[in-house]
């Protein structure tokens, strides 16, 4: 009994190796800037300040899958909605190591990333909002979720 408790205690207090950590963090919101009613507004994934950005860290050699859950509408005041769309080249993944090549991909599809030369991947997301000519004034919001799966 005492042995089992010690084993349990050891398991609970053992500090995991730094090399075995994974994290995914949203770094920057997808920001559309001034939105003019009746005119679609697009932000490309390679925009230096307005694209959405996630940062993924994982051990060298690991392979992960990323899946973006994207909204089709932004919810606004009194049930008003504002359409948002994502094209097939609205996402870019790039390793954080020297010589890593940016890969453009469809944000609606899953993507496998392998950490071959370092521990960081950055994922950038763009999109297009299309306010109607009579779009109701107010705040519109929605959520993009990035799911990181380890195999």
């Amino acid at each position: 009994m005492r042995f089992q408790l010690l084993v349990l205690l050891a398991a609970l207090t053992a500090a995991p190796s730094a090399a075995a950590q994974v994290s995914v963090a949203p770094i920057r919101d997808l920001a559309f800037g001034p939105v003019i009613v009746g005119i679609p507004s697009t932000v490309g994934p390679n925009h230096p300040t307005r694209s959405g950005q996630f940062r993924i860290t994982a051990p060298v050699g690991s392979k992960v899958q990323i899946r973006l859950t994207l909204p089709g509408q932004l919810a606004g005041p009194a049930g008003a909605q504002l359409p948002i769309s994502f094209s097939s080249n609205d996402a870019i993944a790039v390793g954080g190591w020297p010589g890593a090549t940016p890969n453009t991909f469809n944000p609606k599809a899953t993507r496998n990333l392998q950490f071959t030369g370092g521990t960081i991947y950055n994922v950038f997301v763009g999109g297009t909002v299309s306010p109607a000519a009579n779009q109701r004034q107010g705040n519109y919001a929605a959520t993009i979720t990035l799911t990181l799966t380890n195999f």
Binding site: Q4, V7, L8, A11, T13, P16, S17, A18, A20, Q21, V22, S23, V24, A25, P26, I27, R28, D29, L30, A31, P34, V35, I36, V37, N46, H47, P48, T49, A58, V60, G61, S62, K63, Q65, L82, I84, V94, G96, P102, T110, N112, F115, N122, F124, G127, P131, Q137, G138, N139, Y140, A141, A142, T143, I144, T145, L146, T147, L148, N150, F151
Partner: protein, 281 residues
């Protein structure tokens, strides 16, 4: 080429600019959990590296890796696993399940298993989901003329494998249908892998392409997880310039080594090798 350079410059600028929103992700360790039936418990360490409180929740489900028609790994989820599926998702619990991690705060989550009595020896699987979101919704994109503000909040979710082992378990893999061909500037390799034994096969596939003189001209290495069977696709970048035409030999090795996982969590098995001769035009 010019487009790629522009893309690189834009991304370099993006990476060096200060982040507008504060990162509210959570760091999770380890990224694969193994629980032994003798202790029936494990742990997960969570850390909030940001400077905003982060809401974190944990849940479990049953799923296992498969490959799609292109050879990419995907996760097959089973909402209601039948009795023939080795699911541990229903009898695993995390304590606490929900928490708010303050900036720079660390939290140990206990994973406790309550398996059914008379559970047969073997390995049982589950997936742990760690969801994190910030306490407030950032709003950006203000236009004073139209009065419309647009904000897209970013949330993150990490899905980790969990293996629960009872008694003696073993694994191995059978490799077949090795094929390869040049696609663009890479060698694309496909391989059919079928797991043998009573536990998932967690390992690495390595490949090397040798020219007619026996010199290695391209290599690849990729982690694999074979729970039932998979048909993964691997790519090995070919050297710049044209390789001389002729017979080349591709050698592939599958081992239970993983660069990113602690050796004590892996079940050792004999390496499996296969090879193929291919003619490069």
């Amino acid at each position: 080429m010019r487009t790629l350079r522009l893309l690189r410059l834009s991304l370099a600028a993006a990476l060096t600019l200060p982040a507008v929103a504060v990162a509210q992700g959570v760091l999770v360790a380890p990224h694969a959990v193994v629980i032994d039936h003798r202790t029936r418990s494990g742990s997960l360490s969570l850390y909030n590296p940001g400077d905003q409180p982060t809401e974190v929740s944990l849940s479990t489900f049953f799923g296992y890796p498969v490959t799609d028609s292109s050879g990419n790994f995907d996760l097959r989820t089973v909402e209601r696993p039948g009795a023939n599926m080795p699911s541990a998702a229903e009898w695993l619990e995390a304590f606490p399940k929900r928490m708010v991690l303050q900036p720079k705060e660390r939290q140990t989550v206990r994973l406790l298993a309550r398996p059914p009595q008379a559970l047969p020896d073997g390995e049982y699987w589950a997936r742990l989901v760690v969801s994190a979101k910030a306490g407030s919704v950032p709003v950006s994109g203000v236009d004073s003329s139209s009065g419309i503000t647009v904000g897209l909040n970013l949330e993150v979710r990490t899905v980790l494998p969990l293996q629960y082992r009872k008694g003696s378990v073993a694994t191995s893999v059978r490799a077949s249908r090795l094929t390869a061909g040049v696609e663009g500037d890479s060698l694309a390799v496909r391989l059919h892998l079928v797991r043998q034994g009573t536990a998932a096969y967690i390992g690495t596939v390595r490949g090397a392409l040798a020219d007619p003189s026996g010199r290695t001209v391209a290599t690849f290495s990729s982690p694999v997880a074979v729970y039932y069977d998979v048909d993964p696709r691997f790519t090995a970048p070919l050297p710049a310039g044209t390789l001389p035409p002729g017979p080349y030999r591709l050698r592939v090795e599958v081992t239970t080594e993983r660069e990113d996982l602690a050796p004590e969590t892996l079940i050792a098995a004999r390496p499996v090798r296969d090879s193929l001769e291919l003619h490069l035009p």
